[in-house]
Symmetry: C2
Subunit: 210 residues, 2 copies
């Protein structure tokens, strides 16, 4: 069992927040940060910050705070951010193109290597220098380049069949913008879901109850 | 205090899942569903389903299950889905256009009524029949149409200034695709955040630890 497996899910879910806060501080030219500063940035308590960061051997010193570079680098390591992760984007509509931009702009080492669509209307176009390919080119492409993840930017009703193809082609990691429950259908895969419909429903509830 | 205020946050966070499951069942022509069927669709236990639905006076009958239409309608009411909510989309890039489609396609009664961008390159274009307007047209537009929500589909660095404008113009509800913490800056607003960077970071962690 590696050290990471001992970190609770609750702490893991807060690591992206810590990571983004540390990036902002680094951009501002800061080199050290106290647990209470981090807490006020993230809306928690200094004691929770200390507890969280202790989980992976936090480097805070009494009265000195944390070394931002060191903490950032430790969190990057735990989150696997330094490893390059190649991605195919399935769906070249507005969402697929927005995601291609997102993947390219962030410093998280996700690299889009192919964009696919079933609609031939896209076939002579490119996004971020990548030509848009037809879905039937996926098998040869996956065999050759073995992408680490597939990003699903397709309508919900197309998700089950396309996911099945992608799993058959060896893809095990999904960034899923459809309503399809990939993890339920294929428990051996990883799926991070952005359920836009659920998010809108939550917003509707917030508005009604404000 | 209305009935809704008594429902716990945990139950509220599961209501979108129940709602989507009930929609799927209705599309399949089903009229009744048992708590164990719902549990197996959602990956929980029948007892949790019964507990959740009891919170708002669930209508299950022993051995008969729940009336799908009645339950759906009750959940729609709690979530405020029957009320029309008008939206302005800020940012007419790929993400803004994808979101305009999303808002139009779903039966959640969010209606896009304006799309705005600071880039004049968009000024003769339209999305879903709505002309793309310039940011400086926002004040007159908001005064006239009083939109219920603003959807932020802009780069992170533009978010603080634009949010400030929108709050000044009377907007209190945000669907936020930037990394900016609107609720922290304006505690009297509602903000539902889709933090794409955090989602990618979580995916990176899942891949590293699989």
């Amino acid at each position: 069992m590696t050290r990471e497996n001992n970190i609770s899910k609750a702490v893991i879910s807060r690591l992206p927040l810590y990571y983004r806060a540390l990036c902002r501080l680094a951009v501002d030219g800061k080199t050290r940060v106290s647990s209470s500063e981090l807490a006020s940035m993230l809306g928690g308590t200094a004691s929770q910050v200390r507890q969280d960061l202790n989980c992976f051997g936090g480097f805070g010193q009494q009265g000195m705070g944390y070394d931002i570079d060191r903490l950032k680098s430790e969190i990057r390591d735990i989150l696997g951010l330094d490893k390059i992760k190649t991605a195919v984007i399935i769906g070249a509509g507005n969402l697929g193109r927005a995601i291609a931009n997102k993947l390219t702009n962030d410093e998280l080492n996700f690299i889009p290597i192919g964009i696919f669509d079933s609609d031939p209307v896209f076939s002579s176009l490119s996004v971020k220098g990548l030509p848009i390919m037809q879905d039937d080119e996926l098998p040869a492409f996956c065999e050759k380049f073995k992408p680490d993840i597939a990003v699903l930017c397709i309508p919900d009703d197309k998700a089950p069949e396309l996911t099945d193809n992608l799993v058959m082609l060896g893809i095990r990691n999904f960034w899923n913008f459809t309503g399809f429950d990939i993890k339920k259908a294929y428990p051996f895969t990883n799926s991070e879901n952005v359920y836009l419909t659920d998010s809108l429903i939550t917003l509707s509830y917030l508005i009604k109850n404000s």
